[in-house]
């Protein structure tokens, strides 16, 4: 095989790999849209009403049930791509983040809901950053956006932090979802 054949073959293979990877990841966009919407509603309601915990509990239960349903529909055996351990992986990541957050809240004695809100957004951003390094550059951009909005919210909008965080971070999640769903397939 000569150099030009090898180059042509390598380019063709890379195109196939990129296209397949995009197709496999495409449906994950729906999860970002779902949780982005939940963040917008949850935080916005929290800004104007006092029953923050009840609203978040209901929204989280709704989000978890819808995510399980979505993963069955999108990654079940009727589809092109089968992810047998996807729910377990999402569960493990969620448990990891919750434990991480609880330890930080306890160690650093975080008491205000503003601080806890910022911690949750930042730890979510860290997760997306790590996943993005191995999977999808879009998630790195999403992580950077979430951190950026946290800093802006903390410095300039602390009084309206929930509303600001909900709209900015929730919209970033939704936008990422839409971009993943419409990601260009090279073939």
């Amino acid at each position: 095989m000569d150099k030009s054949n090898a180059m042509e073959e390598l380019n063709d293979l890379k195109k196939i790999m990129k296209s397949t990877s995009n197709k496999a990841m495409k449906s994950s966009g729906w999860f970002f849209i779902l949780w982005g919407s939940i963040w917008i509603i949850g935080f916005s309601v929290g800004q104007f009403f006092n029953n923050f915990n009840i609203v978040w509990s209901i929204l989280n239960i709704f989000g978890i049930i819808t995510s399980i349903f979505l993963s069955k529909v999108l990654y079940g055996k009727n589809n092109k791509f089968i992810f047998p351990k996807i729910l377990f992986k999402i569960f493990l990541i969620s448990v990891g983040v919750i434990i991480f957050d609880i330890i930080i809240i306890w160690m650093f004695n975080l008491k205000t809901i503003q601080n806890i809100t910022l911690l949750i957004i930042l730890s979510t951003a860290l997760c997306y950053f790590i996943i993005g390094v191995f999977n999808n550059n879009l998630l790195i951009i999403l992580a950077i956006l979430l951190v950026f909005f946290c800093i802006i919210g903390y410095i300039f909008f602390i009084k309206y932090l929930y509303l600001f965080a909900g709209v900015s971070c929730g919209s970033s999640l939704i936008l990422t979802g839409v971009l993943i769903l419409n990601k260009n397939e090279t073939r």
Partner: protein, 100 residues
């Protein structure tokens, strides 16, 4: 089975090479539906089956058959061996390109 340039002849065949590229781009535990491969590679069922059997015999892929709503379904994924062999193949291509 290696030919000149240390290239694996079994993988080097164009259709099998595409199958390996397609499967290797997915994470380890992800399975692909047989019909998806058919659509992506524009092959006949028989032709695709023969290539898959060869790759399975070399332990580069694993094939899982299940019944879904009383209809048989075939899922395919790449093995660790297959992934390593495909990576060697890509490395070999890159080393050919770098050669003066």
């Amino acid at each position: 089975m290696k030919q000149d340039n240390n290239i694996n002849e079994l993988i080097h065949q164009p259709t099998r090479l595409k199958i390996m590229a397609l499967l290797s781009s997915l994470e380890e535990e992800i399975f692909v539906d047989f019909k998806f491969l058919l659509d992506e590679l524009s092959l006949t069922e028989g032709n695709l089956s023969i290539h898959l059997q060869k790759l399975e015999a070399a332990e580069f892929i694993q094939i899982k058959k299940e019944f879904l709503n009383k209809k048989p379904k075939t899922f395919i994924n790449i093995t660790k061996n297959g992934r390593a062999e495909f990576e060697n193949y890509l490395n070999e291509l890159e080393s050919i390109i770098k050669r003066k």
